[in-house]
Protein backbone atom coordinates (compact mmCIF):
# COMPACT_ATOMS: atom_id res chain seq x y z
CA UNK A 1 0.00 0.00 0.00
CA UNK A 2 1.23 3.51 -0.93
CA UNK A 3 2.38 5.67 2.08
CA UNK A 4 -0.16 8.35 1.05
CA UNK A 5 -2.96 5.77 1.41
CA UNK A 6 -1.72 4.91 4.91
CA UNK A 7 -1.77 8.60 5.89
CA UNK A 8 -5.37 8.90 4.63
CA UNK A 9 -6.45 5.81 6.60
CA UNK A 10 -4.73 6.94 9.83
CA UNK A 11 -6.26 10.45 9.49
CA UNK A 12 -9.73 8.93 9.07
CA UNK A 13 -9.40 6.79 12.20
CA UNK A 14 -8.24 9.78 14.29
CA UNK A 15 -11.03 12.01 12.89
CA UNK A 16 -13.79 9.48 13.65
CA UNK A 17 -12.57 8.83 17.20
CA UNK A 18 -12.18 12.56 17.95
CA UNK A 19 -15.65 13.43 16.58
CA UNK A 20 -17.23 10.49 18.43
CA UNK A 21 -15.60 11.29 21.77
CA UNK A 22 -16.38 15.00 21.46
CA UNK A 23 -20.09 14.23 21.02
CA UNK A 24 -19.88 11.72 23.89
CA UNK A 25 -19.30 14.56 26.39
CA UNK A 26 -22.97 15.57 26.07
CA UNK A 27 -24.35 12.19 27.20
CA UNK A 28 -25.90 12.60 30.67
CA UNK A 29 -28.74 10.04 30.76
CA UNK A 30 -30.43 7.18 28.86
CA UNK A 31 -32.43 9.62 26.69
CA UNK A 32 -29.17 11.22 25.54
CA UNK A 33 -27.57 7.82 24.98
CA UNK A 34 -30.42 6.14 23.07
CA UNK A 35 -32.18 9.14 21.44
CA UNK A 36 -29.40 11.79 21.35
CA UNK A 37 -31.52 13.89 23.71
CA UNK A 38 -33.99 14.37 20.82
CA UNK A 39 -31.68 16.99 19.27
CA UNK A 40 -30.78 15.71 15.80
CA UNK A 41 -31.54 17.67 12.61
CA UNK A 42 -32.97 16.17 9.43
CA UNK A 43 -29.86 16.13 7.25
CA UNK A 44 -27.65 14.51 9.91
CA UNK A 45 -30.27 11.81 10.46
CA UNK A 46 -30.76 11.35 6.71
CA UNK A 47 -27.05 10.73 6.11
CA UNK A 48 -26.90 8.52 9.18
CA UNK A 49 -29.80 6.40 7.85
CA UNK A 50 -27.86 5.75 4.64
CA UNK A 51 -24.71 4.99 6.67
CA UNK A 52 -26.56 2.42 8.73
CA UNK A 53 -28.13 0.94 5.63
CA UNK A 54 -24.93 0.44 3.58
CA UNK A 55 -22.62 -2.12 5.12
CA UNK A 56 -19.50 -3.85 3.87
CA UNK A 57 -21.57 -6.83 2.71
CA UNK A 58 -23.69 -4.62 0.48
CA UNK A 59 -20.66 -2.64 -0.68
CA UNK A 60 -18.63 -5.68 -1.72
CA UNK A 61 -21.58 -8.01 -2.38
CA UNK A 62 -23.66 -5.54 -4.43
CA UNK A 63 -20.68 -4.70 -6.66
CA UNK A 64 -20.14 -8.44 -7.07
CA UNK A 65 -23.78 -9.06 -7.96
CA UNK A 66 -23.80 -6.11 -10.36
CA UNK A 67 -20.77 -7.69 -12.08
CA UNK A 68 -22.88 -10.86 -12.50
CA UNK A 69 -26.46 -9.64 -13.12
CA UNK A 70 -26.06 -5.93 -13.98
CA UNK A 71 -28.21 -3.04 -12.76
CA UNK A 72 -31.04 -5.40 -11.73
CA UNK A 73 -29.10 -5.38 -8.45
CA UNK A 74 -30.11 -1.72 -8.05
CA UNK A 75 -33.72 -2.79 -7.45
CA UNK A 76 -32.70 -3.13 -3.80
CA UNK A 77 -32.26 0.67 -3.80
CA UNK A 78 -35.12 1.69 -6.13
CA UNK A 79 -38.36 -0.35 -6.11
CA UNK A 80 -36.94 -2.12 -3.04
CA UNK A 81 -36.47 0.99 -0.90
CA UNK A 82 -37.95 4.24 -2.21
CA UNK A 83 -41.71 3.45 -1.86
CA UNK A 84 -41.14 2.06 1.62
CA UNK A 85 -39.07 5.08 2.65
CA UNK A 86 -41.79 7.47 1.44
CA UNK A 87 -44.43 5.55 3.42
CA UNK A 88 -42.18 5.51 6.49
CA UNK A 89 -41.59 9.24 6.19
CA UNK A 90 -45.21 10.31 5.75
CA UNK A 91 -47.12 7.77 7.84
CA UNK A 92 -45.09 5.64 10.23
CA UNK A 93 -42.46 8.05 11.54
CA UNK A 94 -45.07 10.68 12.56
CA UNK A 95 -47.01 7.89 14.28
CA UNK A 96 -44.02 6.56 16.25
CA UNK A 97 -43.05 10.12 17.09
CA UNK A 98 -46.48 10.99 18.50
CA UNK A 99 -46.56 7.73 20.47
CA UNK A 100 -43.37 8.95 22.22
CA UNK A 101 -41.66 5.55 22.03
CA UNK A 102 -37.95 4.71 22.10
CA UNK A 103 -38.27 1.66 19.84
CA UNK A 104 -40.48 -0.20 17.36
CA UNK A 105 -41.04 -3.14 19.78
CA UNK A 106 -42.19 -0.54 22.35
CA UNK A 107 -44.76 0.74 19.83
CA UNK A 108 -45.91 -2.84 19.17
CA UNK A 109 -46.14 -3.33 22.94
CA UNK A 110 -48.46 -0.34 23.25
CA UNK A 111 -50.51 -1.23 20.17
CA UNK A 112 -50.79 -4.96 21.00
CA UNK A 113 -49.35 -6.20 24.31
CA UNK A 114 -46.08 -6.66 26.21
CA UNK A 115 -45.69 -10.26 24.94
CA UNK A 116 -45.58 -8.99 21.35
CA UNK A 117 -43.02 -6.37 22.47
CA UNK A 118 -40.72 -8.96 24.06
CA UNK A 119 -41.04 -11.51 21.23
CA UNK A 120 -40.23 -8.96 18.50
CA UNK A 121 -37.35 -7.50 20.56
CA UNK A 122 -35.91 -10.98 21.18
CA UNK A 123 -36.13 -12.07 17.54
CA UNK A 124 -34.61 -8.87 16.17
CA UNK A 125 -31.88 -8.73 18.84
CA UNK A 126 -30.74 -12.30 18.20
CA UNK A 127 -30.72 -11.69 14.47
CA UNK A 128 -28.79 -8.43 14.95
CA UNK A 129 -25.99 -10.17 16.90
CA UNK A 130 -25.48 -12.64 14.03
CA UNK A 131 -25.60 -9.81 11.48
CA UNK A 132 -22.98 -7.87 13.49
CA UNK A 133 -20.74 -10.96 13.53
CA UNK A 134 -21.05 -11.26 9.75
CA UNK A 135 -20.23 -7.57 9.35
CA UNK A 136 -17.10 -7.84 11.52
CA UNK A 137 -15.98 -10.90 9.58
CA UNK A 138 -16.46 -9.10 6.25
CA UNK A 139 -14.43 -6.13 7.49
CA UNK A 140 -11.69 -8.42 8.76
CA UNK A 141 -11.46 -10.00 5.31
CA UNK A 142 -11.09 -6.57 3.69
CA UNK A 143 -8.35 -5.58 6.18
CA UNK A 144 -6.59 -8.91 5.64
CA UNK A 145 -6.65 -8.38 1.85
CA UNK A 146 -5.38 -4.79 1.90
CA UNK A 147 -3.15 -4.58 4.95
CA UNK A 148 -2.21 -8.22 5.45
CA UNK A 149 -3.47 -8.19 9.04
CA UNK A 150 -4.51 -11.54 10.57
CA UNK A 151 -8.29 -11.95 10.97
CA UNK A 152 -8.15 -11.82 14.79
CA UNK A 153 -6.14 -8.59 14.78
CA UNK A 154 -8.53 -6.94 12.30
CA UNK A 155 -11.52 -7.88 14.45
CA UNK A 156 -9.83 -6.64 17.62
CA UNK A 157 -8.77 -3.26 16.22
CA UNK A 158 -11.98 -2.46 14.31
CA UNK A 159 -14.08 -3.57 17.31
CA UNK A 160 -12.05 -1.33 19.65
CA UNK A 161 -12.47 1.73 17.40
CA UNK A 162 -16.25 1.25 16.96
CA UNK A 163 -16.68 0.47 20.65
CA UNK A 164 -14.76 3.55 21.77
CA UNK A 165 -17.22 6.08 20.33
CA UNK A 166 -20.48 4.10 20.18
CA UNK A 167 -20.36 2.87 23.80
CA UNK A 168 -19.41 6.26 25.20
CA UNK A 169 -21.30 8.56 22.82
CA UNK A 170 -24.51 6.64 22.09
CA UNK A 171 -26.84 7.66 19.26
CA UNK A 172 -25.50 11.21 18.82
CA UNK A 173 -21.92 9.96 18.29
CA UNK A 174 -23.22 7.24 15.98
CA UNK A 175 -25.28 9.72 13.92
CA UNK A 176 -22.52 12.32 13.52
CA UNK A 177 -19.83 9.78 12.64
CA UNK A 178 -22.28 8.09 10.22
CA UNK A 179 -22.89 11.42 8.47
CA UNK A 180 -19.14 11.91 8.08
CA UNK A 181 -18.67 8.35 6.85
CA UNK A 182 -21.45 8.62 4.25
CA UNK A 183 -19.98 11.87 2.92
CA UNK A 184 -16.66 10.06 2.41
CA UNK A 185 -18.48 7.17 0.67
CA UNK A 186 -20.26 9.52 -1.75
CA UNK A 187 -17.11 11.50 -2.57
CA UNK A 188 -15.22 8.27 -3.33
CA UNK A 189 -18.12 6.77 -5.30
CA UNK A 190 -18.50 9.85 -7.50
CA UNK A 191 -14.74 9.95 -8.15
CA UNK A 192 -14.83 6.30 -9.30
CA UNK A 193 -17.77 7.06 -11.62
CA UNK A 194 -16.00 10.13 -13.06
CA UNK A 195 -12.66 8.36 -13.60
CA UNK A 196 -14.32 5.22 -14.98
CA UNK A 197 -16.56 7.03 -17.46
CA UNK A 198 -13.76 9.32 -18.67
CA UNK A 199 -11.40 6.35 -19.12
CA UNK A 200 -13.98 4.75 -21.43
CA UNK A 201 -14.65 7.92 -23.43
CA UNK A 202 -18.09 8.84 -22.06
CA UNK A 203 -21.28 7.13 -20.92
CA UNK A 204 -22.44 6.13 -24.43
CA UNK A 205 -19.22 4.17 -25.01
CA UNK A 206 -19.47 2.67 -21.52
CA UNK A 207 -23.06 1.49 -22.15
CA UNK A 208 -22.19 0.11 -25.59
CA UNK A 209 -19.19 -1.81 -24.21
CA UNK A 210 -21.24 -3.17 -21.30
CA UNK A 211 -24.19 -4.44 -23.33
CA UNK A 212 -22.13 -5.85 -26.21
CA UNK A 213 -21.44 -9.12 -24.37
CA UNK A 214 -24.04 -8.72 -21.57
CA UNK A 215 -27.30 -7.58 -23.19
CA UNK A 216 -29.31 -7.71 -19.91
CA UNK A 217 -26.82 -5.76 -17.78
CA UNK A 218 -28.61 -2.44 -18.34
CA UNK A 219 -32.09 -3.95 -17.82
CA UNK A 220 -33.53 -3.25 -14.40
CA UNK A 221 -35.66 -6.43 -14.45
CA UNK A 222 -34.51 -9.92 -15.41
CA UNK A 223 -36.73 -12.73 -16.80
CA UNK A 224 -39.19 -14.41 -14.43
CA UNK A 225 -37.26 -17.70 -14.55
CA UNK A 226 -33.98 -16.08 -13.51
CA UNK A 227 -32.69 -18.14 -10.55
CA UNK A 228 -31.26 -15.20 -8.57
CA UNK A 229 -33.49 -12.24 -9.35
CA UNK A 230 -36.85 -13.19 -10.95
CA UNK A 231 -38.81 -9.97 -11.59
CA UNK A 232 -42.14 -11.10 -9.99
CA UNK A 233 -40.23 -12.18 -6.87
CA UNK A 234 -38.42 -8.84 -6.74
CA UNK A 235 -41.70 -6.87 -6.85
CA UNK A 236 -43.79 -9.15 -4.59
CA UNK A 237 -41.16 -10.25 -2.08
CA UNK A 238 -38.72 -7.35 -2.03
CA UNK A 239 -40.93 -4.40 -3.05
CA UNK A 240 -44.08 -5.31 -1.13
CA UNK A 241 -42.82 -7.22 1.94
CA UNK A 242 -39.10 -7.35 2.75
CA UNK A 243 -38.25 -3.75 2.01
CA UNK A 244 -41.27 -2.12 3.71
CA UNK A 245 -40.67 -4.41 6.70
CA UNK A 246 -37.07 -3.18 6.84
CA UNK A 247 -37.79 0.55 6.42
CA UNK A 248 -40.86 0.59 8.66
CA UNK A 249 -39.71 -1.83 11.37
CA UNK A 250 -35.90 -1.76 11.56
CA UNK A 251 -34.87 -0.37 14.92
CA UNK A 252 -31.32 0.37 13.71
CA UNK A 253 -32.73 2.54 10.92
CA UNK A 254 -35.62 4.24 12.70
CA UNK A 255 -33.98 4.91 16.06
CA UNK A 256 -32.21 8.03 14.76
CA UNK A 257 -35.53 9.43 13.47
CA UNK A 258 -36.90 9.08 17.01
CA UNK A 259 -33.91 11.17 18.11
CA UNK A 260 -34.95 14.08 15.86
CA UNK A 261 -35.58 17.50 17.39
CA UNK A 262 -39.09 17.67 15.84
CA UNK A 263 -41.61 15.45 14.09
CA UNK A 264 -40.95 17.34 10.85
CA UNK A 265 -37.18 16.74 11.15
CA UNK A 266 -37.90 13.04 11.67
CA UNK A 267 -40.08 12.80 8.54
CA UNK A 268 -37.85 15.02 6.39
CA UNK A 269 -34.78 12.98 7.35
CA UNK A 270 -36.24 9.81 5.83
CA UNK A 271 -37.29 11.65 2.66
CA UNK A 272 -33.79 13.15 2.38
CA UNK A 273 -32.31 9.67 2.88
CA UNK A 274 -34.55 8.42 0.03
CA UNK A 275 -32.99 11.00 -2.31
CA UNK A 276 -29.52 9.82 -1.31
CA UNK A 277 -30.65 6.21 -1.66
CA UNK A 278 -31.64 6.83 -5.30
CA UNK A 279 -27.98 7.57 -6.06
CA UNK A 280 -26.45 4.82 -3.89
CA UNK A 281 -26.18 2.48 -6.95
CA UNK A 282 -23.49 4.84 -8.24
CA UNK A 283 -21.40 3.84 -5.20
CA UNK A 284 -22.14 0.15 -4.94
CA UNK A 285 -23.33 -1.00 -8.42
CA UNK A 286 -21.16 1.02 -10.78
CA UNK A 287 -17.79 -0.46 -9.63
CA UNK A 288 -19.05 -3.95 -10.55
CA UNK A 289 -20.11 -2.81 -14.02
CA UNK A 290 -16.84 -0.92 -14.48
CA UNK A 291 -14.80 -4.02 -13.63
CA UNK A 292 -16.76 -5.94 -16.26
CA UNK A 293 -16.28 -3.32 -18.99
CA UNK A 294 -12.56 -3.00 -18.20
CA UNK A 295 -12.23 -6.81 -18.49
CA UNK A 296 -10.95 -7.21 -14.94
CA UNK A 297 -9.03 -10.50 -14.58
CA UNK A 298 -11.15 -11.76 -11.65
CA UNK A 299 -12.72 -15.17 -11.12
CA UNK A 300 -15.68 -14.07 -8.97
CA UNK A 301 -17.91 -11.00 -8.75
CA UNK A 302 -17.04 -10.16 -5.13
CA UNK A 303 -13.52 -9.24 -6.24
CA UNK A 304 -14.83 -6.51 -8.58
CA UNK A 305 -14.71 -3.66 -6.05
CA UNK A 306 -11.23 -4.47 -4.68
CA UNK A 307 -9.97 -4.69 -8.27
CA UNK A 308 -11.43 -1.28 -9.15
CA UNK A 309 -9.94 0.31 -6.02
CA UNK A 310 -6.50 -1.08 -6.82
CA UNK A 311 -6.49 -0.48 -10.57
CA UNK A 312 -8.66 2.56 -11.32
CA UNK A 313 -7.93 4.89 -8.40
CA UNK A 314 -4.60 6.73 -7.96
CA UNK A 315 -2.67 6.63 -4.62
CA UNK A 316 -4.38 8.64 -1.91
CA UNK A 317 -7.78 8.14 -3.51
CA UNK A 318 -7.51 4.36 -3.24
CA UNK A 319 -6.74 4.88 0.46
CA UNK A 320 -9.83 7.08 0.72
CA UNK A 321 -11.96 4.42 -1.01
CA UNK A 322 -10.59 1.80 1.35
CA UNK A 323 -11.64 4.13 4.16
CA UNK A 324 -15.13 4.29 2.61
CA UNK A 325 -15.44 0.50 2.78
CA UNK A 326 -14.33 0.52 6.44
CA UNK A 327 -16.74 3.40 7.10
CA UNK A 328 -19.60 1.40 5.59
CA UNK A 329 -19.05 -1.40 8.10
CA UNK A 330 -18.45 0.87 11.06
CA UNK A 331 -21.58 2.93 10.43
CA UNK A 332 -23.77 -0.19 10.28
CA UNK A 333 -22.10 -1.85 13.23
CA UNK A 334 -22.34 1.15 15.56
CA UNK A 335 -26.04 1.59 14.69
CA UNK A 336 -26.76 -2.08 15.33
CA UNK A 337 -24.96 -1.98 18.68
CA UNK A 338 -26.90 1.07 19.89
CA UNK A 339 -30.28 -0.19 18.58
CA UNK A 340 -29.89 -3.70 20.00
CA UNK A 341 -28.66 -2.34 23.30
CA UNK A 342 -31.81 -0.21 23.50
CA UNK A 343 -34.08 -3.18 22.81
CA UNK A 344 -32.36 -5.37 25.40
CA UNK A 345 -32.24 -2.57 27.99
CA UNK A 346 -35.82 -1.36 27.65
CA UNK A 347 -37.96 -3.79 25.66
CA UNK A 348 -36.65 -6.98 27.27
CA UNK A 349 -35.24 -5.87 30.67
CA UNK A 350 -38.04 -3.46 31.54
CA UNK A 351 -40.74 -6.03 30.77
CA UNK A 352 -39.18 -9.24 32.08
CA UNK A 353 -37.44 -7.82 35.17
CA UNK A 354 -40.07 -5.96 37.14
CA UNK A 355 -37.48 -4.79 39.72
CA UNK A 356 -35.49 -2.79 37.15
CA UNK A 357 -34.35 0.73 38.00
CA UNK A 358 -34.92 3.11 35.03
CA UNK A 359 -32.28 5.48 36.45
CA UNK A 360 -29.67 2.80 35.70
CA UNK A 361 -30.63 2.56 32.00
CA UNK A 362 -27.57 4.53 30.87
CA UNK A 363 -25.09 2.30 32.73
CA UNK A 364 -26.97 -0.85 31.74
CA UNK A 365 -27.20 0.31 28.11
CA UNK A 366 -23.44 0.91 27.96
CA UNK A 367 -22.74 -2.46 29.58
CA UNK A 368 -25.03 -4.26 27.12
CA UNK A 369 -23.42 -2.41 24.20
CA UNK A 370 -20.05 -3.76 25.32
CA UNK A 371 -21.41 -7.31 25.68
CA UNK A 372 -23.01 -7.12 22.21
CA UNK A 373 -19.78 -5.88 20.65
CA UNK A 374 -17.74 -8.64 22.35
CA UNK A 375 -20.32 -11.25 21.25
CA UNK A 376 -20.11 -10.09 17.63
CA UNK A 377 -16.28 -10.16 17.84
CA UNK A 378 -16.41 -13.68 19.30
CA UNK A 379 -18.77 -14.95 16.58
CA UNK A 380 -16.96 -13.24 13.68
CA UNK A 381 -13.97 -15.65 13.25
CA UNK A 382 -16.34 -18.63 12.95
CA UNK A 383 -18.68 -17.12 10.35
CA UNK A 384 -16.78 -18.63 7.41
CA UNK A 385 -17.23 -22.13 8.96
CA UNK A 386 -21.03 -21.83 8.75
CA UNK A 387 -21.02 -21.58 4.93
CA UNK A 388 -23.64 -19.73 2.88
CA UNK A 389 -24.04 -17.16 5.62
CA UNK A 390 -25.55 -14.52 3.36
CA UNK A 391 -28.29 -16.93 2.27
CA UNK A 392 -28.74 -17.79 5.96
CA UNK A 393 -29.24 -14.11 6.82
CA UNK A 394 -31.71 -13.50 3.98
CA UNK A 395 -33.62 -16.64 4.96
CA UNK A 396 -33.67 -15.49 8.58
CA UNK A 397 -35.13 -12.15 7.54
CA UNK A 398 -37.86 -13.79 5.44
CA UNK A 399 -38.90 -15.79 8.54
CA UNK A 400 -40.19 -12.89 10.59
CA UNK A 401 -40.43 -9.82 8.36
CA UNK A 402 -43.76 -10.84 6.76
CA UNK A 403 -45.59 -11.25 10.11
CA UNK A 404 -43.95 -8.12 11.60
CA UNK A 405 -44.96 -6.00 8.62
CA UNK A 406 -48.55 -7.28 8.89
CA UNK A 407 -48.66 -6.33 12.58
CA UNK A 408 -47.30 -2.85 11.90
CA UNK A 409 -49.51 -2.15 8.87
CA UNK A 410 -52.73 -3.37 10.48
CA UNK A 411 -51.78 -1.92 13.84
CA UNK A 412 -51.02 1.53 12.46
CA UNK A 413 -53.62 1.85 9.74
CA UNK A 414 -56.59 -0.02 11.25
CA UNK A 415 -58.34 0.12 14.60
CA UNK A 416 -59.53 -3.44 14.19
CA UNK A 417 -56.27 -5.27 15.11
CA UNK A 418 -56.42 -6.62 18.69
CA UNK A 419 -53.65 -7.57 21.18
CA UNK A 420 -54.39 -11.33 21.27
CA UNK A 421 -54.73 -11.52 17.49
CA UNK A 422 -51.35 -9.76 17.17
CA UNK A 423 -49.54 -12.26 19.39
CA UNK A 424 -51.00 -15.38 17.75
CA UNK A 425 -50.46 -13.99 14.25
CA UNK A 426 -46.82 -13.26 15.04
CA UNK A 427 -46.19 -16.78 16.38
CA UNK A 428 -48.11 -18.64 13.66
CA UNK A 429 -46.77 -16.40 10.87
CA UNK A 430 -43.15 -17.10 11.84
CA UNK A 431 -44.06 -20.81 12.08
CA UNK A 432 -45.56 -20.79 8.58
CA UNK A 433 -42.51 -19.00 7.13
CA UNK A 434 -40.26 -21.61 8.82
CA UNK A 435 -42.33 -24.45 7.32
CA UNK A 436 -42.15 -22.85 3.84
CA UNK A 437 -38.34 -22.97 4.05
CA UNK A 438 -38.64 -26.72 3.39
CA UNK A 439 -40.27 -26.09 -0.02
CA UNK A 440 -38.45 -25.08 -3.21
CA UNK A 441 -39.84 -21.52 -3.06
CA UNK A 442 -37.39 -18.61 -3.40
CA UNK A 443 -37.17 -16.63 -0.10
CA UNK A 444 -38.87 -13.67 -1.81
CA UNK A 445 -42.00 -15.78 -2.27
CA UNK A 446 -41.76 -17.16 1.31
CA UNK A 447 -41.80 -13.59 2.63
CA UNK A 448 -44.77 -12.65 0.44
CA UNK A 449 -46.85 -15.73 1.37
CA UNK A 450 -46.18 -15.39 5.12
CA UNK A 451 -47.17 -11.71 4.88
CA UNK A 452 -50.46 -12.56 3.08
CA UNK A 453 -51.22 -15.23 5.72
CA UNK A 454 -50.43 -12.85 8.58
CA UNK A 455 -52.66 -10.10 7.21
CA UNK A 456 -55.56 -12.56 6.85
CA UNK A 457 -55.01 -14.18 10.26
CA UNK A 458 -54.76 -10.84 12.03
CA UNK A 459 -57.93 -9.60 10.37
CA UNK A 460 -59.94 -12.74 11.17
CA UNK A 461 -58.67 -13.27 14.75
CA UNK A 462 -59.33 -9.62 15.55
CA UNK A 463 -63.05 -10.22 14.98
CA UNK A 464 -63.25 -12.63 17.91
CA UNK A 465 -60.87 -11.01 20.43
CA UNK A 466 -61.22 -7.75 22.41
CA UNK A 467 -59.47 -4.62 21.15
CA UNK A 468 -58.02 -1.46 22.73
CA UNK A 469 -60.11 1.48 23.92
CA UNK A 470 -60.85 4.43 21.65
CA UNK A 471 -58.51 6.70 23.65
CA UNK A 472 -55.59 4.31 23.25
CA UNK A 473 -56.28 3.87 19.53
CA UNK A 474 -56.35 7.63 18.91
CA UNK A 475 -52.68 7.93 19.89
CA UNK A 476 -51.52 4.68 18.29
CA UNK A 477 -53.23 4.58 14.88
CA UNK A 478 -52.72 6.82 11.87
CA UNK A 479 -55.84 8.94 11.34
CA UNK A 480 -54.82 12.18 9.62
CA UNK A 481 -58.40 13.11 8.77
CA UNK A 482 -59.65 12.89 12.37
CA UNK A 483 -59.68 15.95 14.62
CA UNK A 484 -57.39 15.43 17.60
CA UNK A 485 -57.75 17.41 20.75
CA UNK A 486 -54.26 16.52 21.98
CA UNK A 487 -52.18 17.19 18.82
Amino acid sequence: MHPLDLVVIASYVVLIVVVGLRVARNVKDARDFFLAGRSLTWWVIGLSIIGSNIDTNSYVGASGNAYTIGIAQANFEWIGAIPAMILASLIFIPLYWRAGVYSIPEYLGLRYNQSVRVVTALITSLFAVFAMGVGMWALALVLETYLGWPIWMSILISGAIVGLYSITGGLAAVAFTDALQVSIMFICGLIIVGLGISELGGFTNFAAELTRDNPNHLSVYLPADHPQSPWPGVILGLGIVLSPAYWIASQAILQRTLGAKSQWDASASMMFAAFAKTFVPLLIIFPGLLALVLNAPIDQGDKALPWVIKNVLPPGLSGLMFVAVIAALQSSLDSSINATSLMVTRDIRHVLFKQHDPARDLAVGRGISLVLLLSAMAIAPFISDLGGIFIFLQTGLSLFQGPMLALLLMGALSQRATPQAGLWTLISGVGLAAALQFTTLNFYYVAFLSFCYSMSALWLLSHVTPGLTEDELTRLTYRPFTRRSSS
Partner: protein, 67 residues
Protein backbone atom coordinates in the same frame (compact mmCIF):
# COMPACT_ATOMS: atom_id res chain seq x y z
CA UNK B 1 -50.69 -16.84 -9.34
CA UNK B 2 -46.92 -17.01 -9.02
CA UNK B 3 -46.76 -19.39 -12.03
CA UNK B 4 -48.89 -17.00 -14.09
CA UNK B 5 -46.65 -14.08 -13.17
CA UNK B 6 -43.63 -16.10 -14.20
CA UNK B 7 -45.05 -16.43 -17.71
CA UNK B 8 -44.99 -12.64 -18.25
CA UNK B 9 -42.01 -10.91 -19.93
CA UNK B 10 -39.59 -8.82 -17.85
CA UNK B 11 -40.87 -5.52 -19.32
CA UNK B 12 -44.01 -6.05 -17.26
CA UNK B 13 -41.86 -5.47 -14.20
CA UNK B 14 -41.14 -1.95 -15.46
CA UNK B 15 -44.83 -1.27 -16.16
CA UNK B 16 -45.96 -2.57 -12.75
CA UNK B 17 -43.24 -0.56 -10.99
CA UNK B 18 -44.31 2.63 -12.79
CA UNK B 19 -47.94 1.95 -11.88
CA UNK B 20 -46.95 1.47 -8.22
CA UNK B 21 -45.00 4.72 -8.19
CA UNK B 22 -47.89 6.65 -9.84
CA UNK B 23 -50.33 5.25 -7.24
CA UNK B 24 -47.93 6.25 -4.49
CA UNK B 25 -47.66 9.74 -5.98
CA UNK B 26 -51.45 10.12 -5.83
CA UNK B 27 -51.58 8.77 -2.27
CA UNK B 28 -48.97 11.27 -1.10
CA UNK B 29 -51.28 14.17 -1.97
CA UNK B 30 -54.17 12.64 -0.02
CA UNK B 31 -52.22 13.26 3.18
CA UNK B 32 -53.21 16.65 4.63
CA UNK B 33 -50.43 19.21 5.07
CA UNK B 34 -51.31 19.59 8.77
CA UNK B 35 -50.36 15.97 9.38
CA UNK B 36 -46.87 16.66 8.01
CA UNK B 37 -46.07 20.05 9.52
CA UNK B 38 -47.97 19.52 12.78
CA UNK B 39 -45.16 20.86 15.01
CA UNK B 40 -43.98 23.76 12.81
CA UNK B 41 -45.33 27.18 13.67
CA UNK B 42 -45.23 28.75 10.21
CA UNK B 43 -44.01 26.13 7.72
CA UNK B 44 -42.29 27.38 4.58
CA UNK B 45 -43.22 26.03 1.15
CA UNK B 46 -40.01 23.94 0.95
CA UNK B 47 -40.93 22.20 4.19
CA UNK B 48 -43.93 20.54 2.53
CA UNK B 49 -42.26 17.15 2.07
CA UNK B 50 -45.06 16.01 -0.22
CA UNK B 51 -43.18 17.97 -2.91
CA UNK B 52 -39.98 16.15 -1.98
CA UNK B 53 -41.84 12.86 -2.42
CA UNK B 54 -43.22 13.95 -5.79
CA UNK B 55 -39.77 14.83 -7.15
CA UNK B 56 -38.44 11.54 -5.79
CA UNK B 57 -41.22 9.57 -7.51
CA UNK B 58 -40.59 11.44 -10.79
CA UNK B 59 -36.93 10.39 -10.54
CA UNK B 60 -37.95 6.73 -10.10
CA UNK B 61 -40.30 6.93 -13.09
CA UNK B 62 -37.39 8.22 -15.21
CA UNK B 63 -35.24 5.30 -14.04
CA UNK B 64 -37.87 2.65 -14.82
CA UNK B 65 -38.60 4.24 -18.23
CA UNK B 66 -34.89 4.44 -19.13
CA UNK B 67 -33.81 0.99 -17.97
Amino acid sequence: MIEWLQSLPAEWGNYISMLLFCSLGAMVWLIPIKAITADLESPAKWQDIRWWATVLIALQLCIYIAF
